[in-house]
Structure formats: structure tokens, C-alpha cells
């Protein structure tokens, strides 16, 4: 039996064109042994939810630098739920003001990773969330 690999969708919703952060994260997840579906720039929440459905991913990473996160993130979460994918973890990168962080986490966002994040932390959080806590 092949080993079950963690599958992650990395997408950039909205209209800003800075995808370096998303690419750095995608590469780090790849190097941690995950299969990363990379969809590129200017994705609508509908496109992201559709891709998550077709790819049966465990987690969705969204990179948002445009300030539109309070509009985009709830919409993605809602669409995932509508599609029966409420178990999919959603994490964010980019520029998210501190005051929005608790609100987004309350909505169900797994983690928020701003500039200066160590990619190992993202990997650790995803693995922990998908596979459960490591066995002692």
C-alpha cells in the first residue's frame, strides 16, 4: 500500500500579483513531503473551493496581500462547507492586521502566517492538524 500523503492546495485569491510568498510556502511543503496543488494568481473563492473539491485536499493555503481577507476568507470557508468539505483546514499567509487574527480564527482558520514566519512552523502545524498529535 502506498503511503498516504498530505495534499495541500496553495492559492492566491484576489487581485494582487505578489505570489512569491505563496511559492516559498508551496516549495517548503513539497520539501516536507506533501503534494501541493498550486493554482496560481487571481483565483476567485469559487475557483478555490472547486479545486479543493476536485483534488480532495487536506488543507488550503491562501496568500492575501490586498487587504480583502475579511471578504475572501469567509466566502472560501462557506463554499468548502457547502461542498461537504468542512474538514479541510484553511491557513493564511500575507498581510493580515493583528486585530483581524482572532476574528479569522473564530471563523475556523487553522493558522495565520505573516512575513517572517519560519516555514517549518507551517509544516508542523499542518502535519499536527491532519495527522493528529504525534504519538508519544
Amino acid at each position: 500500500m502506498s503511503e498516504r500523503r498530505i495534499r495541500v492546495l496553495v492559492a492566491k485569491p484576489g487581485l494582487d500579483g505578489h505570489d512569491r510568498g505563496a511559492k516559498v510556502v508551496a516549495r517548503a511543503l513539497r520539501d516536507a513531503g506533501m503534494e501541493v496543488v498550486y493554482t496560481g494568481l487571481r483565483q476567485t473563492p469559487e475557483m478555490i473551493a472547486e479545486a479543493a473539491l476536485q483534488e480532495d485536499v487536506d488543507a488550503v493555503g491562501l496568500s492575501i496581500l490586498s487587504g480583502a481577507h475579511m471578504a475572501l476568507v469567509p466566502r472560501v470557508l462557506e463554499l468548502l462547507r457547502t461542498n461537504g468539505q468542512e474538514a479541510v483546514r484553511v491557513f493564511l499567509g500575507g498581510i493580515i492586521p493583528d486585530e483581524d487574527v482572532p476574528i479569522l480564527k473564530e471563523m475556523g482558520v487553522m493558522g495565520i502566517y505573516g512575513p517572517g514566519t519560519i516555514t517549518d512552523d507551517i509544516v508542523r502545524d499542518i502535519v499536527k492538524s491532519v495527522r493528529g498529535a504525534p504519538q508519544p
Binding site: 500500500m1 500523503r5 513539497r30 520539501d31 513531503g33 503534494e35 498550486y38 468539505q85
Partner: protein
């Protein structure tokens, strides 16, 4: 309702979840595949292969758009796309980036795109790709396009899986000797010269054309793990017409040449059906699948029934070069 039954109704979440089970070769996945097998064999399987960066994903995107919005008088067809990208040999991870070129297809419920990592397979596909295709076939997708890993010269597994294989070339990738080498060009049912707006397209097309002019009709015999698997001569009997591989220029970013490629594919399908090659290819594919499974199962069963100690002993004498690999196999199989 179980997974297989939900897949037959076209439930997209069920399809997606079953694809994961199949990809991970779980008992649940195997069970569902067995239930679905009787419903397969209806789709037209189109393989798309070629070197990295020749524009395979863009071509698949355009072809899928064409099948969804065909010319007047034809019905749109449901399209599944299986896009394979390489796994890292070190971490086992992968970046699956084929969807980037397929954003035109978003929002169309008649299209289903699934990315797969090759997971260590070397033939341009993943070992579960054939099973993934079966799920889409059973779910009622009429056209299934399989895009291989960016392939060089030897990744020809796709020709064993697909009814119609497209090989995508682009200007500037090699000279005429590249074109007459064995391997990937030989498996083309349709040759596509993409990026035809780039300089050098005449040279590329000329090299490919001279390669085709030099070709002799040969029986398609695949060697797989040293074992020959024949697909009878496409030129079979003298009464049978010969399939002449067409060369089609495209600019897939703009859609130029796409209706023509679709036309070649339709002609190839008709050719396969009138000559009986459709069925012969199906039989060769199913036999190939059976033998692969048989081989894997026999090895797995044998490993279970053999003690680790006995295996290690033989391996140690092999390390010390006291026996040869052939003798080691004899010894291991004899000790059962």
C-alpha cells in the same frame, strides 16, 4: 449509499474521495474499483505527452474547452483531466502545477480536473493512473485526457493506456537525429507542433515530417519489464488502411489549430473502430493491467510467506558475492 454507487450518480465529492482511496491503494478503493469495473470501457482516453514546457497543459485546456463548446451540430462532452507531475525523489513531495494553465475550465460542472504526483513511477504516469481513469470512465466522463509528466525519450507508458496519443513538440528542441531516435515520437497518433508562432517552427515541422516519411509500418510491440506485449500491426492486413500520423501546428495560448487537433483525434477514433484496433488496444491494456497486478500480488504474497531471516541470509551471501543474483532468486524460491 456506498462510494461506488455515489460515483455512478456523478456525485463530485464521492468521485474525488474515491480517487484518493484509489491513489492510496486502500481496501475500500479496491472494493469500489471492482464494483465499478463493469461500467468502464466507454470513454475515449486521450494521452498528451511531450517534453517539459512544450505546452501540454495549455493544449489540454484548449481541447477541453473545445469539447465543452464544439462546433454547431455536435454535442458537448463531459471531460475529465488527469494531470501527472513528478514527485521529488528525495522528499516524496510534489508541486502539481498543471491547473495554472486550466483556469478557463473553472466553474464548468462538465469538467473534472485531478492532479496526481508520479510517486516514484518512471514511465511518465503514476502507478494508480490507470485506476483513476477507470473511476472517471465509470462516472460517465466521455473524454478523459491524461497529461503525462514532462517526458523525454523513454516515457511511453501513456501509449499503453490511451486510445489516442498526442505528442506535443515545440520549436527549438532538437535536430533531425532526435526525431529518428526510438521512443516518444514513435508512439504519436497525432503530432502537435505547439508554439507555432515562435521562430524555427518550419525546421521542427520538417524534421518531424522527414521522420514520419522514413517510418515503416511496424507492429506495435511494447516491451514492459522485458516482456513483449504485442498490439497487432496497425497496418494489419493489406486490406486495412494505414494510419498516417498527422502533424498539426497550434498556438494553444490563442487556440489556433485546436479544432484541427480535435478533428484528427475524431478521425483516429473512427480509424481505430473501423479497423478493430480499438478493441485490440483495449485487450492489450487490460492484459497489461492484469499482469502488472499479478506480478505485484505474487511478490507481496511471497514476501509475506518468507521469513525475514531467510531473506537476510540470502541477501548477505549475495553481498559477499558467494552467490549470484540469479542463484539468490533460485534459493529464495526453492526455500518456500
Amino acid at each position: 449509499m456506498n462510494l461506488a454507487a455515489s460515483v455512478l450518480t456523478g456525485d463530485r465529492l464521492a468521485i474525488s474521495r474515491l480517487l484518493s482511496q484509489v491513489e492510496n491503494d486502500t481496501p475500500e478503493g479496491r472494493l469500489a474499483l471492482s464494483e465499478l469495473f463493469a461500467h468502464t470501457g466507454r470513454a475515449h482516453l486521450i494521452g498528451v505527452t511531450g517534453a517539459p514546457g512544450t505546452g501540454k497543459s495549455s493544449l489540454v485546456n484548449q481541447l477541453a474547452r473545445y469539447y465543452r463548446h464544439p462546433k454547431a451540430g455536435e454535442n458537448p462532452r463531459r471531460v475529465a483531466i488527469v494531470a501527472v507531475d513528478p514527485s521529488s525523489p528525495f522528499s516524496g513531495g510534489a508541486i502539481l502545477g498543471d491547473r495554472i494553465r486550466m483556469r478557463d475550465l473553472a466553474g464548468d460542472s462538465g469538467v473534472f480536473i485531478r492532479s496526481m504526483a508520479s510517486r516514484g513511477s518512471l514511465g511518465g504516469l503514476a502507478s494508480a493512473t490507470a485506476s483513476v481513469v477507470q473511476v472517471f470512465d465509470a462516472a460517465g466522463f466521455e473524454v478523459i485526457m491524461v497529461e503525462t509528466v514532462g517526458a523525454g525519450q523513454a516515457e511511453v507508458d501513456i501509449a499503453r493506456l490511451a486510445h489516442t496519443t498526442l505528442v506535443v513538440e515545440a520549436p527549438g528542441l532538437g535536430d533531425e537525429i532526435q526525431a529518428i531516435k526510438a521512443g516518444i515520437l514513435e508512439i504519436a497518433d497525432v503530432l502537435v507542433v505547439n508554439k507555432a508562432d515562435q521562430p524555427g517552427v518550419e525546421n521542427t515541422e520538417r524534421a518531424l515530417r522527414s521522420m514520419l516519411d522514413l517510418a515503416h509500418p511496424t507492429p506495435r510491440i511494447f516491451r514492459h519489464h522485458g516482456k513483449a506485449e504485442a498490439i497487432p500491426d496497425p497496418a494489419g492486413s493489406p486490406a486495412q488502411p494505414l494510419w498516417i500520423t498527422p502533424i498539426q501546428r497550434t498556438v494553444s495560448t490563442e487556440g489556433t489549430g485546436i479544432p484541427e487537433v480535435a478533428e484528427h483525434i475524431a478521425r483516429h477514433r473512427a480509424y481505430l473502430q473501423t479497423t478493430g484496433d480499438w478493441q485490440r488496444r483495449e485487450h492489450a491494456r487490460i492484459q497489461n493491467e492484469l499482469e502488472t497486478l499479478l506480478r505485484e500480488t505474487l511478490v507481496a504474497r511471497w514476501r509475506q510467506s518468507t521469513g525475514d531471516d531467510a531473506y537476510q541470509q540470502v541477501l548477505d551471501s549475495l553481498y559477499d558475492r558467494k552467490i549470484s543474483p540469479h542463484q539468490a532468486v533460485e534459493k529464495l524460491l526453492a526455500s518456500e
